[in-house]
């Protein structure tokens, strides 16, 4: 029985989050806009127009290349014309980069679920402009030019991935990185991250590259995983049946979860690449390069490791806390303000704070519950100034009001009562009011202690120190 391994490469198109398009001043994102409302003479390829390169596009490309550990970031790169005909390509050519692109080489280290770290090589990174959208309706092709000229980075991996899961992991990590360094929102459902997969199989242990198929039109990471998995199986079946794998282009239909062979949509023409004469070479001198790279932050996995090392956190915690950059920065600021055990902060964040964030739909940088405030609350609980329940409720109160928790504790008298002499009378009152339960307890129903504690807590409007209350109750109930 032959064992096969899959050989997968991914081609991603990343929509940059600049304000403007790449060659004109229309806005870059118009996902929600009605068709043909975000256009101008330049991006619709009117006669006589000229492109002017948006510098921010170059800056984001260089930042990404550095974050991907590019082997070479070109000091001079060139824009080229890629000539072909299609209705949503208004100029009849796409301005892209052919042989002298912004960066070459590089890698992304992707942690796999099994704990292994897989290094995925990057072949090439280049800048290009997006085309428009075609919609087929009522026997017509309708063309929307809103997306023409949106800045893209195309990044092609080496065929280093070996399973559908690995491919999914790569995209997850890439998306995290893109958001982390602020070059793209990378939301696949809004077309900000597009991915085509190239899939081939070979006998395990061989190093040959067989015919590959291309999977297109996958609009989520899950769908990509499913599509690649399905294609690997299909290729294995094909080969086992003694047939050849043909270099098809496949379309994933997520309604039926099947792959369909696509008709090739462009003329299989020679693109006749030549240097774009309307644009100057892109010159990245040392001072510009330095200015761009000074904004390169500590990368997600680096930070994850540092949290594990510096804060003695388990990988599970560190992974969640570094899921996005603002969350990781929030965590660190809280730890700094708290001054105590970082694990305590981690616990609070991973449970209650994250849950609240999900419920109200806010990111860590949008919270009114600032790191200082969270640190205060945690401190108050740890110091037993308030109960842990009170602390949890305080999270919401601070988030809603934006006020300092210490103020709220003061105002609403939320401080925990730990004074023995203040608690005893309350306990006595409860015991006196509930003689049947007292008898039941003394006759062996010891689980009633929880109920008694609850009653005292209620009587004290939650402010009693529950451990102390329990102690006093036990003392009183166990004596005669």
């Amino acid at each position: 029985m032959t064992e096969y391994e899959a050989v997968i490469g991914l081609e991603t198109h990343i929509q940059l989050n600049t304000n403007s398009k790449i060659f004109c001043s229309c806005k870059a994102d118009s996902w929600d806009d009605p068709p043909n409302t975000n256009i101008c003479p330049v991006c619709t390829g009117l006669p006589g127009v000229l492109p002017v390169l948006n510098r921010k596009v170059v800056e984001k490309a260089v930042l990404l290349a550095a974050a991907m550990h590019a082997e070479k970031i070109a000091p001079v790169s060139y824009m080229d014309r890629k000539n072909y005909f299609y209705p949503d390509l208004p100029k009849g050519y796409q301005i892209s980069q052919y042989d002298r692109s912004v960066a070459k080489g590089g890698y992304l280290d992707v942690p796999m679920p099994d704990g292994e770290m897989r290094r995925v090589g990057i072949h090439k990174l280049h800048i290009e402009e997006d085309a428009g959208k075609t919609v087929r309706q009522r026997d017509c092709r309708w063309i929307d030019f809103n997306r023409c000229g949106v800045p893209l980075i195309e990044m092609v991996t080496e065929p280093d991935l070996r399973s559908a899961d690995e491919a999914a992991q790569y995209l997850i990590r890439l998306r995290q990185l893109l958001r982390w360094i602020g070059v793209s929102e990378a939301d696949m459902e809004r077309g900000q991250l597009r991915c085509d997969g190239n899939v081939s199989i070979r006998e395990k242990g061989t190093a040959v590259l067989n015919t590959k198929t291309e999977i297109k039109n996958v609009n989520s990471i899950e769908n990509l995983r499913d599509a690649i998995a399905a294609e690997i199986e299909r290729q294995i079946r094909t080969v086992e049946a003694g047939e050849e794998v043909k270099p098809w282009t496949l379309d994933w239909d997520d309604n039926t979860s099947t792959l369909r062979k696509m008709r090739s949509k462009e003329t299989e023409a020679d693109y006749r690449y030549f240097r774009e004469p309307d644009l100057l070479p892109v010159v990245l001198d040392d001072s510009w390069r330095e200015e761009i790279l000074k904004d390169l932050p500590e990368l997600p996995l680096e930070r994850r490791q540092r949290f594990m090392d510096e804060y003695d956190l388990p990988q599970y915690d560190a992974e969640i806390l570094t899921e996005d950059r603002s969350r990781s920065e929030y965590y660190e600021k809280t730890v700094e303000a708290f001054g105590g055990d970082p694990k305590a902060v981690s616990n609070w964040m991973m449970n209650d704070v994250l849950r609240m964030m999900r419920e109200i739909g806010k990111g860590a940088d949008e919270l009114q519950l600032k790191p200082d405030f969270l640190a205060s609350i945690i401190k108050a609980v740890v110091d037993k100034k308030i109960t842990s329940n009170t602390g949890k409720k305080l999270l919401e109160k601070v988030e809603q009001s934006g006020r300092n928790p210490e103020e709220i504790i003061e105002e609403e008298g939320l401080a925990q009562v730990s004074d023995d002499s203040a608690l005893r009378p309350v306990v006595e009152t409860i015991l006196a009011a509930n003689p049947e339960q007292v008898d039941a307890y003394r006759n062996g129903k010891e689980t009633l202690i929880g109920w008694f504690v609850g009653q005292v807590m209620r009587e004290s409007r939650g402010k009693a120190n529950p451990q102390l209350v329990k102690q006093i109750l036990e003392e009183m109930l166990n004596s005669e």
Partner: protein
């Protein structure tokens, strides 16, 4: 009185209007009258049939924009009345080669494929002329998409006639520009020069035409032919007017990444500096046409028309009298590569620049039903493009095809640097020649008859041999009238200069004007104007 307003130089008109001597509307009326007198029937897309009047008239305009010009004139007059500055070109009528987009006017590129295209925006150089108070009287005819040197290939026929003899071509592709200025239909025209398309028609029509340094004038709004060669530039009746117009249109533009970010000198200041001490070169390579024989492939040499050569040498003498140092036998060994290199490079860029005319977004779309997309493209482009665009596309596709581009396109790019190096050597301040400019003929022949050369693509192309090197090298060039041949046809001489040194060319041209201002030939008027009251 009305007649002479139409023949006044722009700089005189503008000053007079600012002083309140004439009104801009008066000037406009004179221009309209002149246009009516000399134009003849309006060109159209109809199948062309020669009519008796055709060969007596100019037919420079595709679209007259009298309304627009009148509004502009009224605005100028209002400003003058209010004591406000009406602009450097206040009340000066100008025409625009219909290769530039002008808002809300047909911008056709003289092609069926854009005949119905009304532009939503205005090209930068046109905007600058209008902002300076100029009166935009209309869009003038050209070779379709600027592909040609005779104005015969326009989809709008009859073709433009040379005002000195309307049975002859005005030159091209800026034929309408040169003819409209020569005939006094306007004082200035905005043309484009890709291989000589301003200078050659200026030479044929006895007017001044300048190709500025590549990047001196913004190309935004210029329907592209060859993006690395196209230069918008002035056509005028004298050098001072050309200088004034260049001042207005030149300069950086945030819509054009290839427009030089360099200050624009006041070209009209210091025009009378003269040529004392200037080193002006003469090259034997520019007194002949060298081309490969179509049968044998051997390089053949043919001298330029002798009367033209005589005018160049006469000019050299006059300039020497004025204090210039004439340096002869300047070697320009790569001159003859100019046309073949141009064939290749311009076609590659042109074929790509024409991709956008696909019938999808604007312009002509095949009206019938089609089975598939490729059919829509084929029919729209097949029916919309004339012969010349088709030839360019075929050639461009061929020489940039993956299997051929190394031998053609890549090779042409290299040869282009050799053409440039000829100029670097002669202009090098530490070199052997240290020239300020080179003096040459503008064209190898004077204006030929309509229909005589068209159809012989290669011979037509070689008409640009003396002008195209400047486009490859990027340097500026100017053609000024220098006399007539024995048929009474204008002869132009050309000065080629250093990068961004339009100043020297204008000063030298002006010095030549002054040195020859009393020569008899300057009194002769174009044929279409003789007999006008």
């Amino acid at each position: 009185m009305k007649q002479s307003l139409s023949d006044m130089p722009a700089h005189v008109l503008a000053r007079a209007i600012r002083n309140g001597e004439y009104s801009a509307e008066e000037v406009l009326d004179a221009a309209i009258n002149r246009i009516r007198a000399v134009e003849g029937r309006q060109p159209s897309l109809e199948q062309y049939e020669l009519q008796p009047d055709d060969r007596d008239k100019v037919h420079a305009f595709i679209t007259l924009t009298e309304e627009r010009a009148r509004k502009q004139a009224q605005k100028v007059d209002r400003k003058v009345a209010e004591g406000k500055d009406p602009g450097k070109l206040a009340g000066v009528p100008f025409s625009v080669k219909d290769i530039f987009c002008v808002q809300d006017t047909p911008s056709t590129a003289a092609s069926r494929i854009l005949a119905n295209f009304s532009s939503p925006y205005t090209a930068t150089p046109v905007q600058r002329l209008e902002t300076a108070g100029g009166l935009n009287v209309g869009k003038v005819n050209l070779d379709e998409f600027t592909y040609g040197s005779s104005n015969e290939s326009s989809a709008f026929q009859p073709p433009v006639g040379n005002p000195w003899d309307p049975s002859r071509v005005p030159g091209g592709s800026s034929g309408g520009s040169a003819a409209s200025v020569a005939a006094g239909e306007c004082a200035l025209s905005l043309g484009t020069d890709t291989a000589g398309s301003i200078r050659q028609p200026a030479g044929f029509c006895g007017v001044v035409g300048m190709k500025p340094t590549y990047g001196r004038v913004s190309r935004y709004g210029l329907i592209a032919f060859a993006s690395s060669l196209d230069c918008p530039g002035p056509v005028a009746r004298d050098v001072t007017d050309a200088a004034l117009m260049l001042e207005v249109i030149a300069g950086a533009d945030r819509h054009d990444a290839t427009a030089a970010v360099l200050d624009v000198p006041e070209y009209t200041a210091g025009l009378e500096r003269g040529v004392k001490g200037k080193r002006i070169g003469l090259s034997d390579d520019y007194f002949m046409v060298k081309y490969p024989d179509p049968e044998t492939g051997e390089l053949v040499e043919q001298p330029i028309q002798p009367e033209i050569r005589e005018r160049v040498l006469h000019a050299a003498d006059r300039l020497a009298d004025a204090g210039a140092e004439i340096v002869e036998q300047i070697p320009m060994p790569h001159t003859h590569y100019g046309i073949p290199v141009y064939f290749v490079i311009s076609r590659v860029e042109a074929a790509s620049n024409l991709h956008r005319y696909d019938g999808v977004k604007y312009g002509y779309r095949h009206p019938g039903q089609v089975e598939e997309l490729a059919e829509l493209y084929r029919k729209s482009r097949g029916e919309g493009f004339g012969l010349q665009p088709k030839l360019r596309i075929l050639m461009g596709m061929y020489v940039s095809a993956a299997q051929y581009e190394k031998n053609y396109y890549q090779q042409a790019l290299r040869a282009r640097t050799l053409i440039r190096s000829d100029f670097d050597k002669i202009y090098d301040p530490e070199g052997e020649y240290r020239l300020d400019c080179l003096l040459t003929a503008t064209t190898p022949t004077t204006a030929f008859e309509i229909g005589q050369v068209y159809g012989d693509s290669v011979l037509m192309q070689y008409a640009d041999l003396l002008t195209v090197p400047a486009n490859h090298a990027g340097i500026p060039g100017i053609s000024v009238p220098a006399g007539f041949d024995s048929n009474g046809l204008p002869i132009g001489i050309q000065f080629l200069g250093h990068d961004f040194d339009e100043q020297t060319l204008l000063q030298t041209g002006r010095a030549f004007e002054l040195a020859t201002e009393n020569e008899d030939w300057r009194q002769v008027k174009p044929a279409v104007l003789r007999g006008l009251s």
